[in-house]
Subunit: 312 residues, 2 copies
Amino acid sequence: MAHLEQVGELELIRQLAAVLSSGPGVITGIGDDCAVVSYNAQDNTDLVFTSDAVIEGTHFKEGCEPCRIGHKAVGRVLSDLAAMGAVPRWAHINLVAPPEAELAYIREIYTGAQKLAGRHGLVICGGDTASSAPLALHVFAAGTVEHGGAVTRSGAAAGQGIYVTGTLGFSQQTGKHLDFLPRVAEGRWLRDYAGAMLDVSDGLAVDLARLIQASDCGALLEADLIPVSEFAGAQAAPSEKLSHALYDGEDFELLFTVRQEKASGFMDAWQSAFNTPCRRIGTTTAQSGLLEWINPDNQRAPLPQGGWLHYS
Amino acid sequence: MAHLEQVGELELIRQLAAVLSSGPGVITGIGDDCAVVSYNAQDNTDLVFTSDAVIEGTHFKEGCEPCRIGHKAVGRVLSDLAAMGAVPRWAHINLVAPPEAELAYIREIYTGAQKLAGRHGLVICGGDTASSAPLALHVFAAGTVEHGGAVTRSGAAAGQGIYVTGTLGFSQQTGKHLDFLPRVAEGRWLRDYAGAMLDVSDGLAVDLARLIQASDCGALLEADLIPVSEFAGAQAAPSEKLSHALYDGEDFELLFTVRQEKASGFMDAWQSAFNTPCRRIGTTTAQSGLLEWINPDNQRAPLPQGGWLHYS
């Protein structure tokens, strides 16, 4: 009998999705950053749902500063909503905590969660508490977007520029995986430009592979253009730093393509709107699923796959 | 420093709610079975959100039949939606499972979840997977209700009949805590009759205390009228059986009051609509927070408090 560690996360999700039935009103179901639903044809608004967990030992270490746990928990769902171009609205938090947990520590987690949620208009209006270990928060969030306006993973086509916000790599070493700023305003603004979009949670190489698979196109990255995060402790060679940028997870930056009719003047418009760094790192290509790069030796080659997934 | 086991679940929720800010569109926030929100004044529909967890060792035992785990996980959120009078719409499931879990077992959990969800029109359209132990499902659900039409805990007033569906007690011994049928159609129908409503998750005594506290009234139960579940293994005296009906949790029956103008003919209407048992068990009274009963010795007395709560 197969165990989860043998089949891997993607196959697990594929098999669970096969058990579940879709239904009326579901525009985008399992397989994107969020689900998109519509319940009222007269209404000009779609609802966007997402859920994520942060679990001690998996997503943060024991003894982590509590406000950072709350920040990360809310940041993850905000990043998912951002990747759809949605407006954050309401959230629920399910808390799992052992009976010996300190009340003050739990309260600080919620203070961190509220601080980030409040900054983005996300109202935490409910949840559940359960007595168990390890400490965990499961956050559910709902957002809204104009009917038909959600940006999915599947809207890219050959010949579009591929862009990423911020810098990538070393999120564990720098603490960015706890303190990242979800790109909510940027994601919302990108509705007018993006072909496809997602947030980089499992590493650039893995997440770009998802985007081109969903969009039925290919991609050509340029190694020299990939923005690598500064990490003072890194004594690594440039190629090793690049490897961190490609395969480390939890950067929660936006990865997107720009539609061809919007390509002209895109970077100027971006820089007028935001201080957040944004960089073109490649181009989508025609051959479905083919992920290539111009490597550091200036040769065109398949991008070696890596990245981090649960259960593998 | 205070630990969760010292402060108890209610105080924990009170303190966490104090950290969180409400916001625009929230009609009913923390403290009811579901949150109720409205995002569009022109729209005649409110959204209703709830979330619950089922965790191995807390809500089910190791080795539990997997389809029953999925049934309970979805049943809990359906019961919450029912208690608001809402139509179930969409759900997300966050799965926590250790890497050595069997794929076939997890798939069976989802089969049980889908079966119950499908019967009630609830579409499971997303979620998250994480590698950790113990096995757990966190389910988030969204429903809809006519604008202003959600039934809350706070709508009771003195002089209303208090009713409960089904029978109460021994849910652990009989397996009802896993196999219960959420009263979705009944809850929806009760919108036209109920003053206040909730589902009995922590025991009749505790949940009725919550209802009268939220409604700022009192209640007088009649011991002789409380419907006790049959349990073949019970050799207990009648008073001990009654104690199970009052203090056991996880029956997931609806507890509600009927508005005075709807009292006449209520039971006839119920019996025309449903085969589900329903019984009047008492009356709301004027003194806020006072929970009394006519005890088995036919004396009026305060109802002894008990019931089961997390962290206490």
